[in-house]
Amino acid sequence: MFSFCTEPDALGAFQWFACYFTTGVHLNLYWSLGTVLILLAITAPVSLAFGFLGAMASRSRILPLSLLGKTYTSMVRGVPDIVFFLFFVIALDQALEWTKHQIVCPDWTEPIRQGANFLVCPEAKIPLGASPQVVHEIYGFFVAVFTFSIVFGAFAANVLYGAMRAVPRAQMETAEAYGMTPRQSFWRILVPQMWIYALPGLSNLWMILIKATPLLFILGIEDIVYWARELGSSKSARFFDYPHGDWRLWYFLGLLVFYLAFTRVSEIALDRITKRLSHGQNFAGGGA
């Protein structure tokens, strides 16, 4: 990175660390920070959308729809995250490949399941074996985002469902008295007012989502936990320019600081949003 990095052994401590922290592997670590932030940036709105749909479905007067919504929230919430992550990602991947296999290779005669192997025709692999590694990584990332969104969407659905019920009944009756259709009163009266009731639950979820991002590691995505472990492990002078002992403690300490700082910033931001939303509301915690 820097011009003086050519002979790491001869450097002073400061320059050594300057060079050490800018090696190619460390750049990978910094990139993975971006991965985590992108994951959060996509997952939060998508799971909110899933949650909204789930809550709407649960409230529906059409029985199958409300059953669907309730099954989604209670099933996904009831399964441990790790189990869901391991099962769902594999199942989703195989389902996609199986579907593509049926379309792309209708003439394939060999069985797809051969013992432990799940073998679709090479043209049906997602992504294709021949595609560059970047495509594989992006695909894996989006499967992870989708899985996160489903899990957190179920929790969000429950929060929003409760928030919708918390809006005072008198508000809805007034809307009906003004002659609004159920649809109109839902969108014009219920939805704008429910956010303040949903916010404590949603902010809780956001915090849990931040803390849950290391689950990416389980899905084989090289996130900050992976790189912290990889970089912190002892490096011998025979193979590495910057040898050091077991520094995992320091790297994990860095992770701790990162997550604490991130959740703290979120707390401050969420407090501000709560203040703004509760402006003029007549209940405890509001401006009354």
Partner: protein, 242 residues
């Protein structure tokens, strides 16, 4: 989200039309945490003995290869489910593994595994011995009277000895040797234990064609001595060669 997935799928379909043929790119799966066999170097690339051997094999077999890393514990399941096409990760050829996947001939001769501890005279028969899970070493320790302590990565097995959790670590001699040389505290103890049938590349059982290509390339590397040169370059002058 769904739209994104669909777009990605559509892009994949479009790409597949251009690249017909089964193995236009061979994906080489490795662990990346087991120097000198394979590790991630300072610039973030896969490096080590197996990187050089693998690149040379691909050149000889006229294949385009791409390197990917995967956790050791799930390295076989991810091969069988097709996430990559070969395992080249210091994996010893054993009967149990051979039931699930196929191996090429060995590109690294059968060598000894060693114990490494903080002091001489550690109880290797009845003490606590650390080993990486799903390895021939952990299987061996489970058979002895010692208490087996398993870890997911090789580095953790050594850390366990250093912090006193385990009395000794049992692993490939070539992995332990540089660690023992560098550390003032660690030393190789006990007698070498010959284990395994050499290291080969793992390939899906249905992939006979690819296996034949790599077998031929390994034979040619053995015949002209390039494999021996690489063995000595990475493992030192005492390394048994072909």
């Amino acid at each position: 989200m769904k739209k994104l997935l669909l777009t990605a799928a559509a892009a994949a379909v479009a790409a597949s039309a251009a690249l017909a043929g089964s193995h236009s790119v061979v994906r080489m799966g490795t662990e990346g945490a087991y120097p000198p066999y394979n590790f991630i170097n300072d610039s973030g690339e896969v490096d080590g003995f197996e990187r050089e051997v693998g690149d040379e094999l691909c050149a000889r077999a006229e294949l385009t290869c791409e390197w990917v890393t995967n956790d050791w514990d799930s390295i076989i399941p991810n091969l069988t489910s097709g996430n990559y096409d070969t395992i080249i990760a210091g994996m010893s050829i054993t009967d149990e593994r051979d039931e699930v996947i196929d191996f090429t001939q060995d590109y690294y001769p059968a060598t000894a595994s060693r114990y490494m501890a903080m002091s001489e005279g550690v109880d290797l028969e009845g003490g606590v011995i650390a080993a990486q899970s799903n390895t021939i070493q952990s299987a061996y320790i489970a058979e002895t009277g010692a208490v087996l302590l398993e870890f997911a990565t090789p580095d953790e097995t050594i850390a366990a000895v250093l912090n006193g959790e385990a009395d000794a670590v049992f692993a490939d001699a070539d992995f332990l040797l540089p660690k023992a040389e560098e550390s003032g505290d660690l030393m190789l103890v006990g007698e070498p234990v010959p284990l395994g049938g050499g290291v080969g590349m793992g390939i899906r059982e249905t992939d006979g064609e690819l296996k034949a290509k790599f077998d031929a390339a390994i034979t040619s590397m053995k015949e002209d001595g390039t494999l021996n040169e690489l063995l000595i370059k990475w493992f030192g002058d005492d390394q048994p060669t072909y």
